[in-house]
């Protein structure tokens, strides 16, 4: 009898623990990298906490230059936050090192694919971009477009660019849009502007159905179509002089050249719409068009550069379900449009196709173009060691970026650049991918 009582007491104790545990609050830690939008994100979190009373979220916002060293140290210490912002640039490394939770099941279970730009998800698949499982999920994405200054087109008496434009049309317009009154000095206005930056080069390569990487994305192998695109870009600067050499535009934030009305056309990511509006002011009239298709473009190849901004869940979180609830909320339709800077597209179709996002009363008037590109096939040049061989941000002066800048400066030709890029990039890639 006594023994039964003991068993009963023990069971009761266990049960009471279980009860208190379930009633207890779960606390999730969430790290994001955009202090600019901290207040909005906080409001979103408040709403999430209201809907999920048993989950509390501790949010930390840091700018990217502090974010990565900090979060890497946390990963090393095994103390990753439950949910955190993830960049495509570092995704491969983190997925390979087993730090990210496989969220494929959750996505299959809870998300209706026609509500999202699912093609953009592919950048967050591992190990393969088409068939792998999801290890992060985007809340926003961007894609490159051709920006054009409407006033300059009007002044030159030119039609605005559209999807029918070829490279010849583009070149003709660029020539007419380049204005130089004193031949001894640099032109006052250039028709176009490019340098070695990924967001300004890869779009032209893809628009000519070219490839920079091999099939497995383990080595740089610049094919003939890509070479043709690079040659076209080089000629714009060195032969037709419709684009400034890189050395001429240093000292100015490169993204400001177009809104400062120095150049008539420009190819870069759609997120620049925000900066164009801010720097250009209210009277800055500009439009967007697809990057013109090259002569070797294969009909039906709708490949575009996509770059998602994502959130990931730590592989070691004890609260998988709660973390997923938060992630689902962060990428869902509750996120306010104001938390997307103009030109960044919500991953949720409902939000993207809303009046608030399309902003018909502002320039550019045809934001739908960006959404159309979102239905195409996404492709990037991201690999392990990408920032190292491609040259990006703080290393913009190095790698492929630096070699192409030398081309614009007239210090080497495209073939020399391709050789230098291939040799250097593959010496980097061999370290990360011993097998090609």
């Amino acid at each position: 009898m006594k023994r039964k009582l003991w068993i009963f007491l023990a069971l009761a104790l266990v049960a009471s623990f279980a009860l208190t545990a379930s009633a207890q609050q779960i606390t999730l830690r969430y790290f994001m990298w955009d202090p600019m939008f901290e207040d909005m994100e906080r409001a979103l979190i408040d709403e999430f906490e209201r809907q999920n009373p048993n989950i509390k979220v501790e949010m930390t916002a840091m700018d990217p230059s502090n974010y990565w060293p900090r979060i890497s140290a946390m990963a090393a210490a095994g103390e990753l936050p439950d949910v955190f912002s993830m960049s495509t640039g570092y995704f491969e490394q983190w997925a390979q090192d087993g730090l990210l939770l496989n969220i494929q099941e959750f996505v299959d279970r809870d998300l209706s694919t026609d509500e999202y730009f699912t093609e953009v998800f592919s950048e967050n698949r591992y190990p393969d971009k088409q068939t792998g499982d999801l290890y992060a999920i985007p809340y926003a994405w961007v894609t490159p477009v051709l920006f054009y200054n409407m006033d300059m087109f009007d002044a030159a008496g030119l039609e605005y660019p559209d999807e029918t434009w070829t490279w010849d049309d583009f070149l003709e317009a660029a020539k007419k849009l380049t204005i130089q009154t004193d031949p001894r000095r640099a032109p006052e206005q250039y028709g176009f502007f490019w340098y070695g930056r990924y967001a300004q080069v890869e779009p032209w390569v893809y628009a000519n159905s070219g490839r920079i990487l091999n099939e497995n994305k383990t080595r740089v192998a610049i094919d003939e179509n890509a070479r043709e695109a690079l040659q076209f870009l080089s000629d714009l600067t060195n032969v037709h002089k419709v684009s400034p050499p890189y050395k001429e535009i240093v000292g100015i934030a490169q993204a400001d050249l177009f809104p400062l009305r120095q150049v008539a056309m420009w190819v870069d990511g759609s997120w620049n719409i925000e900066n164009n509006r801010q720097i250009g002011g209210d009277d800055f009239r500009f439009g967007i068009a697809p990057v013109p298709k090259g002569p070797s473009y294969v009909e039906g190849d709708d490949t575009t550069y996509f770059w998602p901004d994502s959130v990931a869940i730590s592989a070691t979180t004890p609260h998988k379900e709660a973390a997923w609830e938060l992630v689902k909320f962060l990428v869902g339709e509750n996120r306010p449009i104001e938390s997307y800077m103009a030109g960044k597209v919500p991953i949720h179709r409902g939000l993207a196709y809303s009046e608030e996002w399309l902003q018909k009363d502002k320039y550019p008037a045809n934001m739908e173009l960006i959404l159309q590109q979102g239905e195409g096939t996404g492709r990037t040049t991201f690999t392990l060691g990408w920032s190292e061989w491609r040259g990006y941000a703080a290393t913009g002066g190095a790698g492929m970026n630096g070699e192409l800048d030398k081309v614009t400066n007239g210090e080497q030709n495209v073939d020399q650049a391709i050789k230098a890029i291939t040799d250097y990039a593959n010496s980097v890639l061999e370290r990360y991918y011993p097998e090609p």
């Binding site: 990565w68 535009i249 190292e388």
Partner: protein
């Protein structure tokens, strides 16, 4: 309490512990890390000498080593001459001289990033005020000071000298004011020219200060990072990258801690060797008044 043999050590303990944990510890850790491959987010794996081998076989590394040497060779004499010149200038007993002392010191306390942004603008070929002035003076083909690989590194050195000359001015000024007035009076009576006074009185009596400044300037030149970061990002195509900038990039952008640590050790060896040589050479040119 009696003042025993261990008493001073008790007072020294906080400093010694601080040095051991926050200086010596990281140095030793970095030494071991330099033999590993470590991306911070996973455990390091042992590589032996592979990082050092890669370093010595890398063309980029040798270019950067060359840049570092050029940077130091121009910066150290440049900043010393400018600092000394300013110090002699503000060593005069004129009204309002403290204003100028403050003025020349201003760049030193200005945030490097701000200096970088303003100078990038001044040197910018398209909007820069310097280019515009030179154009107005009749020079047409003004080079791109920061965008041309031939000039980028030197432009950085010049801006860095501009920023740091005031710092060395203060040090030289302290040295100058320690020289007794009587020597100058004697020289004046003997009919020495200003150049002779400088050559035979000021410079020899300043040599301890000069020695100190040389060491400091050398270390500064080898550690330059923030101005490069703010102005050229090491470009164009690594033309203005120096060792400490490259170490930072490898450690905190590429997350190649092992490789970065091996680079930091090479830098450490260079600084160490030069400093030892300096201390050895000191006895031949530095006057120490005992």
């Amino acid at each position: 309490m009696k003042y025993g043999r261990i008493t001073p050590w008790i007072f020294l303990l906080p400093t010694v512990l601080g040095l051991a944990f926050f200086r010596l510890g990281p140095i030793l850790a970095a030494f071991f890390i330099s033999f590993t491959r470590w991306n911070v987010i996973t455990a390091p794996s042992w590589l032996g000498l592979a990082n050092y081998r890669e370093l010595l076989n890398s063309e980029v590394f040798w270019l950067i080593a060359k840049n570092t040497v050029i940077f130091s060779l121009v910066y150290v004499p440049g900043v010393m001459v400018c600092g000394l010149f300013l110090a002699i200038l503000v060593n005069n007993k004129l009204r309002g001289i403290t204003f100028f002392r403050g003025l020349y010191y201003l760049p030193v306390i200005t945030a490097t990033v701000a200096v970088g942004v303003v100078w990038s603008w001044i040197l910018s070929p398209r909007f820069g005020i310097l280019t515009r002035w030179l154009n107005d003076l009749g020079f047409v083909n003004v080079p791109s000071f920061l965008g041309d690989s031939r000039y980028a590194l030197l432009s950085l050195v010049v801006v860095y000298i501009w920023k740091m000359a005031g710092y060395h001015m203060i040090l030289f000024l302290a040295g100058l004011q320690g020289i007794p007035e009587v020597y100058y009076e004697a020289a004046k009576i003997d009919g020495a020219t200003p150049w002779q006074t400088l050559r035979h009185i000021t410079l020899p009596l300043l040599s301890t200060t000069t020695f100190f400044i040389m060491i400091i300037a050398l270390i500064q030149s080898l550690q330059t990072f923030d101005l490069t970061f703010a102005m050229t990002e090491g470009g164009p195509n690594n033309a203005s990258t120096t060792l400490s900038f490259f170490t930072y990039i490898n450690a905190f952008v590429h997350f190649r801690m092992g490789y970065a640590a091996s680079m930091a050790f090479v830098l450490f060896l260079i600084v160490g060797t030069i400093t030892v040589i300096n201390f050895w050479a000191r006895k031949y040119w530095v006057n120490t008044i005992e």
